[in-house]
Symmetry: C2
Subunit: 365 residues, 2 copies
C-alpha cells in the first residue's frame, strides 16, 4: 500500500509561516483529492536547541528517517549566533542530509517570466532561464575528517577541513545529473577545480567515465568552477544541468538563484538512493532562501519557495506529476495576475502578505 507520510520541520524565522501555507495545501489535497497525506511535525535548528539543547532531537531524527518525505523550512537567526559549533542551527540540517544519505541536491534556477525585471541582470539574459544545479550533498569538505581547530601554543591555532571524494560518490551524483538531463535539454556541464584540487582531478575522471559508460547520448562539458561562476553571470542561458560538488554547489547555486530575480521563490529537493526493495528514495524538500529573521513573525514572508518545494515533493517522492505541474502553474498564474509579497513587489502589482499569497495559490490550484 502506498503511504504518504510527511514529516514537517518548519524550523526558525520565516520557516513556520511559510510551512503554514503548505499545510493548507496538504489539507486541501486530502479533502478534495483524497491524497491520503499523513503529517507529523518536529523541531529543528534554533527551535530544537531551545527545546532540547540540540539542533534536532533523536526522536525527530527517527521520524525523519521513517517518513516518506521531509518538508524543511529554514534554520538560524541572531539568537543562536553564539551557541556551540556542534549544536548550531545548521547542524540539524547537515545531520538530516548526512543520516538520510540525501546525496543529490536538485536546485532549479528558473526565472519566472513575471519577474525577469527583478533580476540584477539585463532581462534578455535571464528571461526564460531554466538551469538545474545538481549538487553533491553528503560529501566533500562538509563532512570530511579531520575537521578540527587545534591549539598550537604561542597564541597560534590551526584549523583543518578535509575535502574527501570517493569514486562511487561522484559516479552516483553524476548519474543523477545525466538522467535528469535526458528529461530536459540533454546537456550536462560538470564543474570542479582540477587545476588545483585532487578531488577535482578525480571528479573530472569519474564524470567522464560515467558519461562514456552509460550516458554517451548526453552532451557533456567540463568547466573550471571559477570560470563556471563567471559564465553563470555572463550568459546563464548557456547551461542546462550543472553538476558539481558540495561546496562549489553551495556557492554556484546561490549565485544562480540570485540571477533569476526569483530568489525568494526557488525550491530544492535533496534525494537519497532508491531503496533496493521498494524503489523509494528518502527525500527532503526545502526553500533555497534562509530563515530571514529580520522579517519573521510579521506575516509578510514570501511562501512561494516553500510551496514550490512541496511541488517538487509531489513530483519526486510521490510521482504525482499532474498535481506538481498544476501547483507550479498556480504559482505562475498568481504572479502573472500581479499578486506579490513585498520582496517581489513591482509597480502596478498588488502587495499581499504570506497568508493571502498562500490562499491565492490555493485558489488557482
Amino acid at each position: 500500500m502506498t503511504t504518504r507520510n510527511l514529516f514537517l520541520l518548519p524550523g526558525d524565522g520565516i520557516g513556520p509561516e511559510a510551512m503554514a501555507e503548505v499545510r493548507k495545501i496538504i489539507a486541501y489535497m486530502n479533502e478534495e483529492m483524497a491524497a491520503g497525506f499523513t503529517t507529523d511535525e518536529g523541531l529543528v535548528g534554533g527551535a530544537a536547541y531551545d527545546a532540547h539543547g540540540a539542533a534536532i532531537s533523536e526522536a525527530d531524527m527517527v521520524k525523519a528517517l521513517s517518513a516518506d518525505a521531509v518538508l524543511f523550512g529554514a534554520v538560524g537567526g541572531p539568537k543562536w549566533d553564539d551557541v556551540a559549533y556542534e549544536v548550531r542551527p545548521e547542524a540539524g540540517l547537515l545531520r538530516l542530509r548526512k543520516d538520510l544519505e540525501l546525496f543529490a541536491n536538485l536546485r532549479p534556477a528558473i526565472c519566472y517570466p513575471a519577474l525577469a525585471n527583478a533580476s540584477s541582470l539585463k532581462p534578455e539574459l535571464v528571461e526564460g532561464l531554466d538551469i538545474l544545479i545538481v549538487r553533491e550533498l553528503t560529501g566533500g569538505v562538509y563532512f570530511g575528517e579531520p575537521k578540527t581547530i587545534t591549539d598550537l601554543g604561542n597564541g597560534q591555532k590551526r584549523a583543518i577541513d578535509t575535502q574527501v571524494y570517493d569514486t562511487y560518490e561522484i559516479e552516483r551524483i553524476s548519474s543523477v545529473a545525466f538522467e535528469l538531463a535526458r528529461t530536459r535539454q540533454n546537456r550536462v556541464c560538470s564543474m570542479e577545480k582540477r587545476n588545483v584540487m585532487k578531488s577535482g582531478v578525480l571528479w573530472n575522471q569519474v564524470v567522464t567515465e560515467t558519461h562514456k559508460a552509460k550516458f554517451a547520448d548526453v552532451k557533456l562539458e567540463h568547466m573550471l568552477a571559477d570560470a563556471g561562476g563567471m559564465q553563470l553571470v555572463r550568459a546563464p542561458k548557456q547551461f542546462d544541468v550543472i553538476v558539481t560538488d558540495n561546496l562549489f554547489g553551495d556557492m554556484l547555486s546561490d549565485v544562480a538563484a540570485m540571477l533569476t530575480g526569483s530568489l525568494g521563490m526557488l525550491p530544492s529537493a535533496s534525494l537519497g538512493a532508491p531503496d533496493a526493495k521498494t524503489g523509494k528514495r528518502k527525500a527532503l524538500y526545502e526553500p533555497v532562501h534562509g530563515s530571514a529573521p529580520d522579517i519573521a513573525g510579521q506575516g509578510i514572508a514570501n511562501p512561494i519557495a516553500m510551496i514550490a518545494s512541496f511541488a517538487m515533493c509531489l513530483r519526486y517522492s510521490f510521482n504525482m506529476i499532474a498535481e506538481a505541474d498544476r501547483l507550479e502553474k498556480a504559482i505562475a498564474n498568481v504572479l502573472d495576475k500581479g499578486i506579490r509579497t513585498g520582496d517581489i513587489m513591482a509597480d502596478g502589482c498588488r502587495k499581499v502578505g504570506t497568508t493571502e499569497m498562500g490562499e491565492a495559490i490555493l485558489t488557482e490550484f
Copy 2:
C-alpha cells in the same frame, strides 16, 4: 641604491602578446623618465614545460626570487591538457606564489565608465563600481596536505584535499585588507563559511580579533561566502574591501570581475610581507584573465589587463604613485575615446588590435 629589476614571465597563449605592450612602456619610461628598469625574461607554464619538462625551471625560480617584481602573463592551453598533474602549466604559477610567499592577492574589480554597458548587470548597478578583493594566496586548500588520490581497490579511488589555516595567516591577510581599506572607503567585509567549516570559524575569530586590536577605526562586516556571492550579484556597490580565503577568493573574484563588464581589463597584484631589513615586498603582477588560447597569436588580444597590472607594479613595488595614476588614466582616456579591442567592441567605437591598443595607451601616457 634603488634597484628596479623586473622579471618577465609572459607564459602561454595571449601572455606574450600582452607582455610585448608592457615592454614598450618600460622602454619608454627608461628613455623618457630615466626610470632605470632592468628586465630579464623567463618561461612559465606550457612554454616552460615544452623547453624543460617543468612548469618553471629552477633557474627561472632563482631569478623570480631575486627580482624586485615579477610580471606574469598567463599560462595553459589545450596543448598541455594531458600533461602530468605535477607539471601542468598552473603548477608554475602556484609554485611562484608559494615560494615567493605572495600571501596577499589584490584584485580590484572596477567598472570602467566607458564599459558599464558591457556588463551583464544593469548599468546602474555597476557604474562606478570599485571593489577590492583581498584574497589569501598561499594557504588553504591550494597547498594543504594531504593532497592525494589513493586507489582503494574494487575500482574505487579516494581523492583528498586539505584546507589548513593558521592564526598568523589569517592575521596577516586581514591586516593587509584593513590597511588598504583605510586608503579607500574604510570598510571591510570578511567572507567564510563558519557555519560549515572549522577554518571559517577560526577565520571569523581571527579577523574579529585583529580588527579589535589594531583596526577598530575600520568598519568590519562578516558574511557567509555563499551569501557573499549572492550579494555581489545583487548589489555589488555595497562592498569596499572584501577579504577571503584562497578558494573563496578564486570564485568570488572571478564573479566580481565578470560583473564589471571589464574582465579583459582587470589586473592583480600578489604581494609578500615587507622584508625586515629593506622593507621591500616580493611581488608578482598578473592579469585576472587567462591565456585565451582560442585567440592567441592573432594580434587581437586586449593588453589592458597586463598594462594595468604593470600600473599596480609601479604603485606597490616602486612607490611610483604619480606614474601609476598616469598610466591608469591613460587607459581610461583611450577607452573614453572609443578605441577598443574586439572583446570590448561597441557601436560607434574604433576596433584595433593588440599593438594599436598598446600604442594608443603609450601615446596618452
